[in-house]
Symmetry: C2
Subunit: 121 residues, 2 copies
DNA sequence: TACTTTTATACAAGTACTTACCCCAAAGTA
DNA sequence: TACTTTGGGGTAAGTACTTGTATAAAAGTA
């Protein structure tokens, strides 16, 4: 799933900055454009894969599943699958993921303090 | 400075998600690996360009100047230059940048609530 | 004269991230 | 039989992000 070159300068830099900067540590977990959006939607409760897809129309399935998987590995979200056909899989926030609420809320507040306006389209 | 293709799907997606998700709006301003680190260091006060470079040894000058410039355009940081040679330039947080303190603090708290440990090297 | 200092800029090359498109399972339904 | 449903996997190509290296100005210093 998208191989990463272990010894690239980029990757080394990433690791070292992550080690010395807590903010960078967080960004490595929830950075990128889709993760925070996914987390944001999970804040309101457990969702099925297909529900997330509907809530975030612009995301490709590839991206959705990739980020869910990464966040699952980072213990931010919990994946639960029922062994049925067609599949039934739900995603929810883990305890650690749930604790991100404070961070995400702070972001939302800041956004609105700037001249951010919701544009429902 | 690093041209961006205006009509790429990526860019369109970015804009639309930014418009409907406040968290994404924030990530577009402080996302990436270096911006939060730079902001973090500016939280403790005005810094010269060269001071920032010393505080963040791993960053290349290119990245430092590029991100400072972007954040300046986003009104997060203020650049003040004295017209002397050699140049003397300082960077500080704007009001909006200063307001990010809450967000950054929340991140720091979360990081330490996970098993994050500072590694000074 | 030659080198240092400070704050940059420009271009090429490497790396990561994102999209686009095609494929699959197995049960239920038309 | 053929199609739908749900939750994915795989590959290639496009786009963005980062690094690396070279270059500059103008005054001060060795």
């Amino acid at each position: 799933m998208t191989a990463i070159k272990e010894n690239s300068t980029l990757n080394e830099n990433r690791k070292s900055s992550q080690a010395s900067c807590p903010v960078s540590f967080v960004m490595n977990k929830i950075g990128g454009h889709w993760k925070p959006i996914i987390l944001y939607h999970l804040l309101s409760g457990t969702k099925r894969y297909s529900e997330l897809k509907k809530l975030i129309p612009a995301i490709t399935e590839k991206m959705l599943i990739q980020h869910l998987k990464q966040m699952q590995e980072d213990n931010l979200v919990i994946r639960e699958a029922q062994n049925v056909v067609p599949p039934h899989v739900t995603y929810s926030l883990s305890k650690e993921g749930e604790q991100l609420r404070i961070v995400l809320d702070a972001m939302v507040e800041w956004a609105f303090a700037q001249d951010f306006k919701i544009d429902e389209n």
